[in-house]
C-alpha cells in the first residue's frame, strides 16, 4: 500500500526495475526489485537535491541536465549522456503500451553534411550599459529597456549591406538585377534583415519618386522570396510598407504623367504574394488589412487613386475579400464614381480618367469574384483563399451576378465572354486542372518589369484579335485556346451558360455582341517614349432587353492589353500585365 507520504516523490515501480534487470540479463525476485526500486528512488532524490545546488550557484531558476550530471559526477556516478540540449525535450506517452519515451528525431546526416546554408554562428557575448534610473526616479527610457541591437554586424555583412542597397537604389539596372537576385537566394543575410526592412520602411520618404518606390518594392519581393530568411515579426513592417504603396495618395500621383497605377498593381501583387507564401506569419494581419482597405474605400474624401489601391488590394487578398468588403460596399460607392464619370467638364478630365481606372479595377475584381464563386460552387470543398467567415452568409451567385450586372451592364457580360477563363473553363470544372484555382501567382510568375498603362485618350484602332494575342504561346490552360472569331460560338456552347440562365443576363436571348476591338496607341509621357499599347474593347450590346444603367454602355472595358508580351504570367491578375 502506498501511503500519502510516499506519494510526495516520484517513484520507480518495481516492474521497471525488473525490466531493466532483465534487459541486463539478470533475474530479480520481487523482494529484491522492491528494495532496489526504493533505493533508486532515494538516490534519485538525493541527486536531484544536490543538483539544485549547481543551479543556485549558476544563478538560474531552471534546473538543467548539466546540473544533474555535475551532481552525479561529484558523487562518482556516471553522467547521463545525450540530454544536454537547451530546449525542453518532449516526453511522450504511448497510450497503448503505457510507455513513456523522449521523442528523438532522426537526423539526416547526409542532408546535414551537404547543406549549403551554413548556419550563422552565435552572436558574440557582449556587455551593454544603459541608464536605467536617473536619481532613483523615473528614467528616460521605459524601465530597463534592452538595447535593440543585440547583434553587431561583422565587417563583411556590413559591406554586403552597403553594396546591395547601393546597387538596388542606384542607377545601373543590370547591377540592380544582380543585387535583387542575390538578395533572393543568399542564405547568410539573416542578420541584415532588420536593416533591409528599415531601408524598405523608407518608402514614406520617397513617395515622390516612383522609380525608387518601385525598387524598394522589388527589394521586398526578393526578401519575401528568399527561402533562407525567416521574416518573423519583420513581415509586419514589410506589409505596412507595401500597403503604403498601395493605398497612399503618393506625391508622385500628382503628376498625371506618372504611372503610379502600375506601382499600386505591383504592390498589390506583392501583398497577395506575401499572403500566399507567408500565410502563417501574416494570418493575424489579414483582418486588420481588410479593415484598413474598407476604411479607405468608404472614405469619399480620399482621392480616386487611393480607392483604386483599395480595390486592387482587395483583389489581391482573394475573391473572398472582394465578396466580403467590396461587393457589399459597391452600391454606396457606385454613386460617387458615377458622379465623377458623368462629369464631362474639361476640368474634370483628369479625375474622370482616374475614375475609369477605378471602374476597371472594380470590374476585374468582380469578374474574378463571380468566376471563383462559380468555381467554388461547382467544386465543393474549402474555398481557394480567404479565411472562412462563419458569421457571414454569402450572397448566392445568381443574385450576386444580377446585382453586379445592374451596375456594369454588359461590360461585365463581355468580360465574361472575353475573359481569360472564358468558355466556361472554370465552370466546367471537373475537366479543369486544379492549378487554375491558385489565385496569387507563383513567384516565377511575378513580372519584374513595369508596365505603363495606356491612356484612355487612345484612338480607336480596330484590329483582329489574334495578331497581338499571346494566347498562342504556352500559357495557363485557361488562356490556351482563344480567338475572337470563335468566341460567339464558344459562348453559346459553353456549359457556363447554364449557371447564368436564371440571371437577367440577356445575351442568350438577345444574341451576342458581334464585335470585339482592341484599343491601341502610343503611350504618352517622356519615359515611355511612345510605346505602343492596345486595349481590348467590345461595343456594348445595343439591343439589350434589360437596359442596364445609363452609364454602363458608355464605358469601355479596360485592362486587356493586346500587345505581344514575352510571357503571360498571371491569368487572373488582368490589371497588371508586363509589357
Amino acid at each position: 500500500a502506498v501511503s500519502m507520504e510516499e506519494r510526495r516523490f516520484a517513484e520507480v515501480p518495481r516492474e521497471s526495475v525488473k525490466l531493466m534487470a532483465e534487459s541486463a540479463g539478470v533475474e530479480l525476485s520481487d523482494d529484491v526489485a522492491a528494495l532496489l526500486a526504493e533505493d533508486v528512488c532515494y538516490r534519485l532524490r538525493e541527486a536531484t537535491q544536490s543538483s539544485s545546488q549547481f543551479m543556485r550557484h549558476a544563478k538560474r531558476r531552471k534546473l538543467t541536465v548539466e546540473d544533474f550530471n555535475r551532481a552525479l559526477r561529484w558523487s562518482n556516478v556516471e553522467a547521463i549522456a545525450g540530454y544536454g540540449a537547451q530546449d525542453a525535450l518532449p516526453f511522450r506517452p504511448i497510450k497503448e503500451g503505457e510507455l513513456f519515451f523522449v521523442d528523438d528525431r532522426d537526423v539526416n546526416l547526409v542532408e546535414l553534411a551537404l547543406a549549403t546554408n551554413i548556419p550563422k554562428g552565435c552572436a558574440e557575448t557582449m556587455v551593454r550599459v544603459n541608464v536605467s534610473y536617473l536619481d532613483g526616479k523615473g528614467n528616460l527610457e521605459p524601465q530597463g529597456t534592452v538595447p535593440s541591437a543585440v547583434q553587431t554586424l561583422s565587417e563583411d555583412l556590413l559591406k554586403y549591406y552597403q553594396q546591395i542597397t547601393r546597387a538596388i537604389l542606384g542607377e545601373d539596372p543590370h547591377l540592380m538585377k544582380v543585387a535583387l537576385l542575390d538578395l533572393q537566394s543568399n542564405s547568410k543575410i539573416a542578420a541584415l534583415l532588420p536593416y533591409f526592412v528599415y531601408v524598405i520602411s523608407g518608402v514614406k520618404s520617397v513617395s515622390h519618386d516612383l522609380e525608387q518606390l518601385n525598387r524598394l518594392l522589388h527589394m521586398v519581393k526578393s526578401l519575401v522570396q528568399n527561402p533562407y530568411l525567416y521574416l518573423g515579426s519583420y513581415v509586419r513592417s514589410l506589409v505596412s510598407s507595401v500597403m503604403y504603396c498601395i493605398l497612399e495618395p503618393l506625391a508622385a500621383s500628382i503628376n498625371p504623367l506618372n504611372d503610379h497605377w502600375t506601382l499600386r498593381d505591383y504592390a498589390a501583387l506583392l501583398l497577395s504574394h506575401i499572403f500566399w507564401t507567408h500565410g502563417d506569419l501574416v494570418s493575424g494581419l489579414y483582418h486588420q488589412i481588410l479593415l484598413s482597405l474598407q476604411k479607405v474605400l468608404s472614405d469619399p474624401v480620399r482621392p480616386l487613386c487611393s480607392h483604386y489601391g483599395a480595390v486592387v488590394g482587395l483583389h489581391a487578398l482573394g475573391w473572398k475579400a472582394v465578396e466580403r468588403v467590396l461587393y457589399p460596399h459597391l452600391p454606396a460607392y457606385w454613386a460617387n464614381l458615377q458622379a465623377v464619370l458623368d462629369d464631362y467638364s474639361v476640368s474634370n478630365a483628369q479625375v474622370k480618367a482616374d475614375g475609369h481606372k477605378v471602374y476597371g479595377a472594380i470590374l476585374v475584381a468582380v469578374e474574378r469574384l463571380l468566376k471563383m464563386k462559380a468555381l467554388s460552387l461547382s467544386q465543393p470543398g474549402p474555398g481557394g483563399a480567404g479565411t472562412p467567415w462563419d458569421d457571414w452568409t454569402p450572397v448566392p451567385l445568381p443574385a450576386m451576378y444580377c446585382e453586379l450586372y445592374s451596375f456594369f451592364g454588359d461590360s461585365l457580360a463581355v468580360r465574361f465572354s472575353t475573359g481569360p477563363s472564358l468558355g466556361g473553363c472554370p465552370l466546367s470544372a471537373p475537366s479543369q486542372p486544379p492549378d487554375t484555382r491558385k489565385e496569387p501567382p507563383g513567384p516565377a510568375a511575378n513580372p519584374d518589369t513595369t508596365r505603363k498603362m495606356p491612356q484612355l485618350t487612345a484612338n480607336l484602332n480596330i484590329s483582329p484579335r489574334q495578331d497581338g494575342s499571346p494566347r498562342t504561346e504556352p500559357a495557363p490552360p485557361s488562356l490556351a485556346r482563344r480567338n475572337s472569331s470563335s468566341r460567339p460560338g464558344q459562348r453559346s456552347a459553353g456549359p457556363s451558360r447554364d449557371v447564368f440562365t436564371k440571371a437577367r443576363f440577356p445575351p442568350p436571348q438577345t444574341g451576342p455582341p458581334t464585335f470585339s476591338f482592341l484599343i491601341g496607341g502610343r503611350q504618352m509621357g517622356r519615359r515611355c517614349q511612345g510605346r505602343r499599347f492596345q486595349t481590348s474593347f467590345s461595343s456594348p450590346p445595343p439591343l439589350s432587353t434589360v437596359p442596364p444603367r445609363a452609364y454602363a454602355h458608355k464605358l469601355p472595358v479596360i485592362g486587356r492589353v493586346g500587345k505581344p508580351v514575352r510571357r503571360w504570367t498571371c491569368s487572373h491578375y488582368s490589371l497588371h500585365l508586363p509589357l
Binding site: 533505493d39 532515494y42 562518482n76 524601465q143 529597456t145
Partner: protein, 749 residues
Amino acid sequence: MAAVQDGQLNMEVEKDIKTEITNDGSGNINANSSSPGSTSSGGKSKSPAGSGEDQQTLLAVLQFLKRNKLTESVDILRREAGLSADADDSPVSDSAGAGSGGVPNVSADGGDANSLLSRVSIATPFAPPATAPPKVVAASGGEDQPDVNVVLSAYSQQGDPVLYPLYYNGLKKFIESVLDCHRAELSQVFYPLFVHMYLELVYNNHENEAKQFFEKFSGDQECYYEEDLRILSSMSKKEHMKGNETMLDFRTSKFVLRISRDSYQLLKRHLQERQNNQIWNIIQEHLYIDIFDGMPRSKSQIDAMSGSLAGEGKRDANKAKVFYGLLKEPEIEVPLDDEDEEAENEEGKPKKKKPKKDSMGSKSKKQDPNAPQQTRIPLPELKDSDKLDKIMNMKEATKKIRLGPDNLPSICFYSFLNAYQGLTAVDFTDDSSLIAGGFADSTVRVWSVTPKKLRRVKSAADLSNIDKESDDVLERIMDEKTASESKILYGHSGPVYGISFSPDRNYLLSSSEDGTVRLWSLQTFTCLVGYKGHNYPVWDTQFSPYGYYFISGGHDRVARLWATDHYQPLRMFAGHLADITCTLFHPNSNYVATGSADRTIRLWDVLTGNCVRILTGHKGPIHSLAFSPNGKFMASGATDGRVLLWDVGHGLMVGELKGHTDTIYALKFSRDGEILASGSMDNTVKLWDTLKAFDDVELDDFTAATGHIHLPENSQELLLGTYMTKSTPVIHLHFTRRNLLLAAGAYNP
C-alpha cells in the same frame, strides 16, 4: 552530493597536510592534528574550560596519533591543548602571522568543539576515527571501523519504537500547557527532538514507525525547516543515512538552543517527573542548551534568530572582541595644487575644496579605538601606482554625491547579451573601469567599460628592444596590436562561480567547479597560478581590500585563506556544516566573513584562524554578503529573499529587510554607507535606508549582553525604492566612487 566516495582526492589532501606538518618542525604551528577533519581543539586552546568529555576526546586523539607514530603532532597537540605539564602557556604566537609561512591553520570555532567530525574526515576512509567520543570508541571496540558507523552507533540505544509518538506527544501536551511566556521557548525543543527521534527510528530499522512518526508530527514544525524535513522524509532506511549530509550534520553537531533558566527548569522537572528517559537522553546527547538568566524570549525574538541547520549560535561564540574599525589610511601627499587646478576647471570652486581636504586628512590620522593594530596582519606595501590610485580615489571622492532618502543614486544596468554560456559571476573593479564575467562554459571574460581598450604586454623579445629609461615606458610595453574591448581567459574546466578583481587591477581571481582558484594577470591576460586545495567546487573567492590575500570557500565546507605568492593556503577555516556559498573580506582585511548553506554566517579572524562570530537567523542558504564602509555593520542576503543587518562588534542582528521574492545575489553599501542596494533573482534592485535602520536600533546593555534584540518591523519604511529590470536577474551591484550604482546581469529573453 556525497563526498564519501571520493577517496582518492581526499587521500591527497591528507597527504598534503601530513607533509606540511612533518616538514614544519619549527613549532610555529597553530594546526593541531593530522587530519583536517579533527578540528576540535583550535578553539579549545583558548578556552580550556572544556568538559571532561572534551578532555577525553583529546586523549583519544592523542592515543591515535601515538599509535600512528605521529610524535610531532602529539607534541604539538599536547602543547596546544595544555595537556602535559610542560605545556606552553602562550601557544598562539604572533609570529605565525599570515604571509610568513605556508602553514595551514586548521581551526574550529571555539564553541564548536563538539563538532566531532567535519566532512572531510567523514569522507576519508583513511582518516582515523580520531575524534569520535571516547565512549563510542570503546563501544565499537576498534579504530578501523568506518567513521559513519561510529557516528551512527550513537543511535544504537533504542527504546520501544511504539512509544516514540507517545513520548513526543506527552512532551507536546506539556509544552502546550505551560505558561505562555515559556511556551515559545520550550517549543524550540520540538524540531531537534523530532529529527533525532525520527533518525533513531530509521537507524534501528523501524521504517514504518518512522514514517508514521514523521507523518504525525512533521506538520508541527516551523515552516522554515521545510527544506530539511523534505530531505529527512526521503530517508527511510538505515543505508540511506550513510553519506547523507543533512543527517551527518545533525548527528555530528549539537543543536544549539537558547532557553531561559526558568523555562529550562520547567522542562527538566517535567521530564524527570515523568522519567521520560528517551527524550532526556536525546536532549543530553544531541542538544546543547544555552541557558541564560532573565526574561524568556518571545516567539518573534526566537523566530528571528533560529532557522539555521544547527540551531542558534552559542552566546559564547560571539563574545570574542572584534576589531571592526578601519585601518589608518597611509598618509599620501596629495598634490593639492593640481587638485585645485582641476577642481577649478571643472567646478570653479577651488576655495571650498581646500579646507575639506584637510579635515578629511586629519580624520584619517586619528586611530580608531575599535580598529586593529596597523600591523596586526602584515599588509603589502603601497606601490607608487597604488598611491596614484589612492589620489585618484580621493579626487573622485570629493565629487561624490551624498546619497539619502531624498537623493537616490542613478542606476546603470550592464546587460550581458548573448550570454548563451550562462553568466555565473560578475565583478567590477573599484574604479569601475573593468567588468569581468564568469561563465558556465568555463571561460572568464573581461571587458573594458571605458573607451580605453584592453592591451597585452608585448612579448619578451619585443620588450627587450624598449628603451627602459623613457618616461612613457609603461605605455611602450603595451602591444597596441592586441587592443580590444574584451578578452577571454581560458583555463578552467568547469563553470566559474566566483570572480574577483585585485584592488590594483593587475590581477583577477576566479573560482570554479573544477576545484581550483586561478589567478590571472590583466597585463598579459594569462593564467599565473592555479591554486589547488579545495577538492570540490569552489563557490566563491574574494580578494582582500589590500590585495595579496584572498579567501575562497566551496563545497568542502572549509574556507581557505591564501596569499597570491603561496601555492598552499595560509589558513583553513573549518566549522560550517554545509557548503560555503559566499566569502567576503572585512574592510580592514583582518577578518573574513563566510556565508553558508547551513544558513549561518561566520566571521573568522585572519590572524588566529578562530571563528569569532556565528550569526544565525537566515532561513535559507546565504548567497550574498556586504560590509558597511565603516566596517561596523554587515548585511547578508539569502535564498529566503530577506536581507539581514548585523552589528559586527556586538554580533547582533539589527535589522531585517523584507521585500524581495527570490534569492538575493548581490548586496552593496553606498560609498558612505547611507544606502544599501540589494539585487535579486526576482529581477529587481531595491534600495534601503540603512542610516535609519541602524539608528532605529536600541542597544542597551541587556540586549547587548544577551543578544535578545527586538527587531522593529520597519521594512516598508526603510525601503526607498524598487527598480525593475527587464527579464534580467541582478547578480552584481557596485557603487562607483561617485556613488553611481552599477548593476549587472544576463539578459534572458
